[in-house]
């Protein structure tokens, strides 16, 4: 019997049993003898100085062990550079408890450590703090005059600046047959993974720590801790097998990690620090952004002038940037373009990548402007996209490594029933509800990064695969097991993928839809090396059937090395291990993307989203009743988990379009809805029919696997498709997100 390849199979998550039985343990759920509980005290003002920090009442409670603040913080991590992590933007990273300065509302200013959680929480309310407050600014809108170009730094490599202007935008726009322009705004958003940020630091003695951290990068947290506290890298082990959602929020080490480690080292005891839900709003966020567009087209609908400008928020201490304005010209090949991106410094914490950072922000203006242009031209919105279809990335004058967006448009439209759309706004009804159909294009980059992977064929004939990578719920464990199984021709049951541990071979942070391509490529490289070693051993066996053959003559399948031309000529892996004196055979490889080859191409995933909304004419209530997203994302390793990624992205799109936003009282500089009752994300009753299509896309350039990643592409096209559907239903073009019912009354 020949083994069916695992890649392409809709395999259920391998950790499913642990997750449905409660056996899966998350960062704040580990216990150690004598463990202490930390509770963070946060600033209640936005800017100024702490003038009094009185811990007497808190310390008087029996069971309170210590209250840390800037007054008694251990003298570690004196230099800003020690706090720079793998995802740090240019600037000077935040240093918890560094001094008496308050630079944003909710800033952590103390840590109460006590014998129980309840006691630490209570004692935190007894800490008395007084401040000398200073003038601050948190609203981007009155501060656009201070917008400036972002600083360049390491992080800029993954976030290229806007492309250079092309042609003469203004002249072309002025002469355009049809013009559309808009001003757009979206408010701050917070990631709000359901798991609260937590770190459990197990104090091992001898300068050694074992840390269970909520992170998207075990190595990132390891380096951060070792650098700040002056510990040896090998003495800091960060473990994160289960991560209860992150969506970008755990790309950078958050302050509970610093607090937990600081307290453990000072008190020489194990310490867990778990944030509460309101504290989940006191670090990174998607930045509020103002955007403007001006698109012009000729009478045939050909877009000849594109202008997209964005002003994003950043903190006073780091220049957080996003790729917001680069996308329009990657999709539509206009001859005249002008793209601009600037930042406004405000008294907030540094923004942080949040699912499809920049893409989710930029695609809404781009695709609603295209929709408006279609109406001005009296051309069907889908047809306008087809008129402006390009096989090349005009912004960089290079071809795509692959681009099956056309199939996304066609298959998505077919499945959705786009041809049943009456283009006239307010023309379609369902009872007393106005019905609208909207569509939009999506695009996201297909990147990969360097990583290391180790493969060991054990004496039991199992394949052990090791990587420090996390699985934040995306399905990494399952998908990497599938990749490894096929590489050696083994059933998945014979593959053990060990991950989520900084002791394992290096993996970068998990995000940006690059994990499958990055870790998958490393596994492929390690597998190539392991196959060579196995074959060398097999070919040297005295009475082996493969004696004297070449590597090109054989295949690795069914747990053995077989002659291509005659499967009955083979050596089993077990025989090879026996020949190796029953010792395991190992391969460790570092894989680096082929930059020279890749730079000749643009690499991206594409999507087309089609959405039906119903709007109650009297009440303005909006429901997304139906949505189809067709995705071209290269090779899909696991259609089941990949579909879930796209579904999740679609729900995020619905949320961004009509539900979620962080509301700031700019008089206080404070977020006012720091809880899940008032920070609205969709509930089950808000989510209706969602459909996903993966169109076939072959790509032998992007990486050895042909994968492009599916974490963000499900999100980006949904907000504009929904906004366009709302316009079609109501005749109202609302350019700020989220769109509320009162906007439609």
């Amino acid at each position: 019997m020949t083994l069916i390849p695992s890649i392409g199979q809709p395999v259920s998550r391998l950790e499913g049993y642990q997750k449905v039985t409660g056996a899966a343990k998350y960062a704040g759920e580990y216990k150690a003898p004598g463990m202490l509980y930390g509770y963070v005290v946060n600033s209640t003002v936005t800017k100024g100085k702490i003038t009094r920090f009185d811990t007497a009442k808190a310390m008087s409670l029996p069971g309170v062990v210590e209250v840390f603040s800037h007054l008694n913080r251990p003298s570690v991590g004196k230099f800003s550079l020690q706090y720079a992590d793998m995802d740090a933007p240019p600037g000077s990273p935040f240093r918890p408890l560094q001094d008496d300065e308050i630079i944003y509302n909710g800033q952590p200013i103390g840590l109460v450590v006590a014998e129980t959680f309840e006691l630490a929480r209570y004692a935190a309310t007894l800490v008395e703090v007084e401040y000398a407050t200073e003038f601050f600014q948190t609203d981007i809108r009155p501060n656009v005059n201070s917008a400036r170009s972002p600083k360049i730094g390491m992080a800029t490599m993954l976030k290229p600046p806007p492309p250079k202007p092309k042609g003469d935008f203004q002249k072309a726009y002025d002469a355009s047959f049809a013009k559309s322009e808009g001003e757009f705004y979206h408010s701050t958003e917070h990631h709000n993974p359901l798991e609260l940020f937590a770190t459990t630091t197990i104090y091992e003695g001898d300068g050694k720590l074992t840390i269970y951290d909520k992170t998207q990068g075990t190595v990132n947290s390891q380096l951060y801790v070792a650098n700040i506290f002056g510990l040896k890298y090998k003495n800091v082990r960060v473990i994160a097998p289960y991560v209860g959602g992150a969506f970008g929020s755990a790309l950078r080490p958050q302050y509970q990690l610093f607090m937990s480690v600081m307290a453990a080292l000072e008190l020489k005891r194990s310490v867990v620090v778990t944030l509460d839900r309101s504290q989940m709003f006191t670090f990174g966020h998607r930045p509020q952004t103002i955007q403007t567009t001006q698109f012009g087209a000729d009478a045939d609908g050909k877009v000849n002038a594109l202008h997209h400008a964005a002003i994003g928020e950043t903190s006073r201490f780091e220049d957080y940037t996003e790729v917001v304005v680069n996308w329009a010209h990657m999709i539509y090949p206009a001859e005249n373009t002008l793209m601009q991106y600037k930042l406004v410094e405000l008294d907030v914490f540094s923004p942080l990548d949040m699912r499809a950072p920049g893409g989710a922000t930029g695609m809404h203006p781009i695709e609603t402007t295209m929709d408006d242009l279609a109406y001005k031209l009296k051309i069907d919105p889908l047809h306008l996209r087809l008129i402006n279809y390009s096989e090349n990335d005009a912004s960089l004058n290079r071809p795509y490594s692959s681009k099956e967006l056309m199939q996304c448009y066609l298959q998505g439209a077919e499945k959705f029933g786009w041809d049943k759309r009456d283009p006239e706004p307010r023309s379609m009804r369902h009872g007393n509800k106005l019905v609208g159909y909207g569509m939009a294009t999506g695009i996201w980059e297909a990147n990969s990064l360097p990583a290391r992977a180790e493969m060991i064929l054990t004496k039991e004939g199992k394949l052990q695969v090791n990587s420090a990578v996390t699985d934040i719920g995306t399905g990494t464990l399952t998908v990497m097991t599938q990749v490894a199984a096929d590489e050696l021709g083994l059933p998945m049951e014979d593959v053990i993928f060990s991950y989520g541990d900084s002791k394992k071979p290096f993996a970068p942070i998990q995000g940006g839809s690059f994990t499958v391509s990055t870790i998958g490529s490393a596994i492929k490289a390690a597998a190539g090396s392991l196959r060579k070693k196995l074959f060398k051993k097999a070919a040297s066996m005295k009475n082996g059937m493969l004696k004297g053959l070449e590597l090109e003559d054989v295949v690795f399948k069914n747990g053995r090395i077989e002659l291509k031309t005659d499967p009955l000529t083979f050596v089993t892996y077990q025989d090879i291990i026996a020949e190796n004196n029953n010792e395991p055979i190992k391969a460790l490889k570092f894989s680096v993307p082929n930059v020279l080859k890749l730079k000749k191409y643009s690499r991206a995933t594409h999507s087309a989203a089609f959405v039906e909304v119903e709007v109650d004419e009297e009440l303005g209530v909006i429901n997304v009743t139906r949505a189809v997203t067709a995705v071209a994302a290269g090779k899909i390793i696991n259609p089941k988990t990949a579909r879930s990624q796209i579904l999740g992205g679609m729900v995020w799109g619905i949320s961004k379009a009509i539900r979620e936003e962080t509301i700031t009282d700019h008089r206080l500089g404070k977020y006012m809805n720091q809880n899940l009752g008032e920070y609205h994300i969709p509930v089950h009753a808000d989510i209706h029919e969602l459909d996903v299509i993966f169109v076939e896309e072959n790509d032998d350039i992007v990486n050895a696997l042909g994968t492009k990643g599916v974490g963000e592409i499900g999100l980006v096209a949904m907000p504009p498709a929904i906004a366009n559907a709302i316009f079609h239903a109501t005749g109202k073009r609302i350019n700020h997100l989220p769109i509320h019912l009162n906007d439609l009354l």
Binding site: E29, N192, L194
Partner: protein, 173 residues
């Protein structure tokens, strides 16, 4: 696990003391020594060592802490442990019987009804309570009556598919 707690001076005149509380958790009597301010959620997670029940908000807004109390779904974060003396508490750890997964647990795996898995114990316990209540008949009613359980990964449609599968299966039995 913590067993010795300091008394807490609530005010100059009163002091809270830890007191023993006996809960029946997943069929077994468990005696916990807790202060009156300990929520059922924290009693389970921090004192009984059962971390399967999750804390997502501690405010009754997310549903991650849902457990079954005498067969009914409740939010353990809005319940004090001392209020449940003698009650039968079923947590996610007690849903499978003799190593055999509950039909909902199997359906959640089959339908990929979770990603990060953090809301999953609450979703499953809530769904067990929902099916037992017998109020929800249609898919829309199931969605409505499951809406106290948030899922940030966006597995909503798969979660409802899994519940409908089990609901239809038990209706046909």
């Amino acid at each position: 696990m913590n067993t010795n707690f300091p008394d807490i001076p609530a005010s100059p005149k009163t002091t809270f003391s830890a007191r023993p509380v006996t809960l029946r958790i997943n069929g077994n009597p468990v005696e916990l020594n807790v202060l009156p301010w300990v929520s059922l959620l924290d009693a389970l997670r921090e004192y009984a060592g059962l971390t399967g029940t999750k804390k997502g908000c501690d405010h009754g807004q997310c549903g991650a802490c849902t457990v079954l109390c005498d067969g009914e779904r409740i939010l353990s974060c809005l319940t004090l442990a001392v209020m449940k003396e003698g009650s039968e508490i079923t947590t996610i750890e007690g849903v499978a019987q003799d190593g055999e997964l509950h039909p909902l647990q199997k359906a959640f795996i089959e339908h990929d009804a979770f990603q990060c898995g953090y809301c999953t114990p609450g979703q499953i316990c809530s769904a067990i309570g929902l099916l037992r209540e017998g109020k929800a008949e249609t898919r829309d009613e199931v969605k409505e009556l499951m809406s106290g359980n948030l899922c940030r990964c966006g597995a909503n449609t798969n979660i409802i598919d899994a519940i409908m599968d089990v609901k239809n299966l038990s209706a046909h039995e």
